[in-house]
């Protein structure tokens, strides 16, 4: 897979003259200036957010950039201003359960689509892909009505339970990976008399661990960031708001501007996923790379 080549050097040089070396140096300076400039553009917004989160409310309304004095208490006040812990708990419940659901349900489907050979497989795979292209809005009204009938509105159920019925994107990603597993491995297990469930568990899942981790990470992140569906299904019940909905409602419904607190809340909201990313960078980037590979 191409993911492995990301860090491989690409610039190959033959014998170098002094002239060429000077040119290299110049182009290296140019490259680094551009890269540093771009880095600043990508990182400065975050820096300003963090700085503002430490200002007094009055200062956050001015055009000052540096907090003076530094008001750490914002990070305490935001918990009084709104139930951040409750929102955080709801977000974790939604993200973790939906991730578990997606992984549990998508692995067997991807296995059937990528490892077992059967007539109609390609059509089924295309159908899975096709559901990804269907705008959410086409199904959302009838689904809402179903959830009303089930009394699931104002709970996290409409967000979590559908996750246990496979997720097209995860199926796609896993299937792509499963197809790279050498057929001999699977055949050998079959010859040994293993049934498909055993093969899936002992051969495929073991080999495809990186892909499964990537899928889980993506799903977790997706849920952590998700806004439209949590808004739709939970907006009337503040006790089950996720961080996304809670923060939006705080910004939208609050009378007056509290930039310092809003920035503090945003920092707390993004911190877990940024840390998650820093720790699992490799899995992420390999996973994203996998999505870009045509299938």
């Amino acid at each position: 897979m191409s993911g492995a080549t990301v860090s491989a050097p690409i610039v190959r040089t033959r014998r170098r003259s002094a002239e060429a070396r000077r040119k290299d140096l110049l182009s290296s300076v140019a490259t680094h200036s551009v890269a540093i400039g771009l880095s600043a553009m990508f990182l400065l917004p975050l820096v300003f957010v963090v700085l503002t989160s430490l200002m007094t409310q009055h200062q956050s309304l001015t055009s000052d950039l540096i907090p003076h004095p530094i008001q750490w208490s914002n990070y305490r006040d935001i918990f009084n201003e709104q139930p951040m812990l409750l929102y955080g708990k709801n977000t974790v419940i939604y993200s973790v359960l939906a991730t578990v659901g997606v992984v549990l349900s998508s692995v067997p489907v991807a296995y059937a689509l990528g490892v077992i050979e059967w007539r109609g497989q390609r059509a089924a795979f295309l159908l899975v892909i096709a559901t990804m292209m269907l705008p959410t809005q086409v199904t959302v009204v009838p689904l809402y009505l179903i959830f009303v009938k089930l009394h699931w509105i104002d709970s996290l159920k409409p967000l979590i339970i559908p996750a246990f019925f496979g997720d097209a994107f995860s199926i796609f990603l896993l299937r792509q990976f499963f197809r790279t597993i050498p057929g001999e491995l699977v055949d050998a297990a079959r010859v040994d008399g293993a049934n498909e469930l055993q093969i899936m568990w002992h051969v495929v899942v073991k080999t495809a661990k990186p892909a499964i981790v990537a899928v889980a990470l993506f799903q977790f992140l997706y849920c952590w960031n998700d806004f439209f569906l949590p808004l739709l299904y939970t907006v009337n019940n503040p006790r089950i708001w996720t961080l996304s909905v809670g923060l939006q409602q705080f910004t939208g419904a609050h009378r007056g501007v509290l930039w310092n607190l809003q920035m503090a809340a945003s920092v707390l909201f993004m911190l877990p996923v940024i840390i998650l990313f820093l720790l699992a960078q490799k899995a992420f980037i390999e996973g994203i790379t996998l999505t870009g590979v045509k299938g």
């Binding site: 990508f42 990182l43 055009s63 489907v109 296995y111 009303v148 939208g252 990313f277």
Partner: protein, 325 residues
């Protein structure tokens, strides 16, 4: 199925058929989560919403009443906000998608250059992508507010300072900036594609004395064109469903629920009223479920048409190295 057709005895044929049937049962078992989900979460709702789109339906308090094409007629002839939301959405797709691809290729290209520090730069370019959409939107609401840091910077450089999310001319460009900040995942895909271009192609071009632009134009671009195509398709599909950022920012900039203030969706002056926002407002704030369903189907048709046009055009500009798989 790569089996070879051989003459088999009836007994063996029977055994084979039994095996095939068992295999199908296994497949069915493995596929069952998705099959149930497909029927429950896609097939039924699709047909139901198609039916609702021909009815007047106000939710629980009533039941759907067949009204034929009324919803569609109203949409095209009597709902200027439908047209406005469609125009806004097309604007964000036409401006946003190419810029995202351009910046994605650009940043990825920059990342292929430095011999040292690449992983730091990659991290720096990518981190904004991890910021949740709602948090990023609130951050930009602050960054672009009339006394925010961007305004301060523009004043320092004596560049005209737009009012961004308070000005109907600049609210959509502000949203595009926000989108470009999160270019990271597009960039990573392009980075992988760039690094996959076989280096012997560049070496051959060097020997022929090609300059950097010629190499980019005649080697890099064709080689990464499948990824450009992929990004364009995804960009269009999701661009038409653009919701979160516009919703958060319009509500944040337009003020909340003070006495006498109506909905601030689309603030300012409807410039951020996107298709899905108008649909949400019609469906889940006014509970015109029939009308919302009709809008959803029109959206579906538009997205399908755009995707098909892209696919049709792709064989003219997308270069498939190893043929289509």
């Amino acid at each position: 199925m790569g089996t070879v057709n051989l003459e088999l005895s009836p007994a063996r044929r029977k055994a084979r058929r039994r095996r095939a049937r068992r295999r199908y049962l296994t497949v069915l078992l493995f596929m069952s989560p998705w099959i149930i989900g497909f029927l429950w979460l896609y097939v039924y709702p699709m047909f139901a919403s198609l039916y609702f789109s021909f009815t007047k339906y106000d939710g629980l308090l009533g039941s759907p009443r067949w009204t034929g094409l009324t919803n569609y007629r109203f949409m095209f002839t009597h709902d200027p906000l439908f047209w406005q939301s469609l125009r806004n959405t097309i604007w964000i797709v036409i401006v946003g998608v190419p810029l995202t691809i351009l910046l994605g290729v650009g940043t990825a290209y920059v990342l292929t250059k430095p011999r040292r520090g690449r992983s730091f730069y990659r991290l720096a370019f990518f981190v904004p992508t991890m910021v949740p959409a709602v948090a990023a939107s609130i951050a930009f609401l602050f960054l672009l507010n009339p006394s925010g840091p961007i305004d301060t910077a523009l004043r320092f450089f004596h560049i005209p300072r737009p009012l961004w999310f308070q000005d109907p001319q600049w609210s959509k460009p502000g949203l595009v900036l926000l989108g470009l900040w999160g270019v990271g995942s597009t960039m990573i895909i392009f980075l992988a594609a760039l690094l996959n271009v076989p280096s012997h192609l560049y070496e051959a071009a060097d020997i022929e004395g090609a300059n950097a632009w010629q190499k980019f134009r005649h080697i890099t671009l064709p080689m990464i064109s499948p990824v450009i195509f992929f990004s364009a398709v995804i960009g269009v599909i999701y661009g038409f469903q653009y919701f979160t950022e516009a919703y958060v920012i319009a509500q944040g900039a337009g003020g909340g629920t003070g006495p006498g203030s109506g909905s601030s969706l689309g603030y300012p002056l409807g410039s951020t009223l996107f298709y899905t926002i108008w649909l949400y407002q019609q469906g889940f704030e006014s509970f015109h479920l029939g009308y919302a369903s009709a809008m959803a189907w029109v959206l579906f048709v538009i997205v399908m048409a755009c995707t098909l046009v892209l696919i049709k055009s792709s064989n003219r500009w997308v270069y498939y190295q190893g043929g289509f798989r």
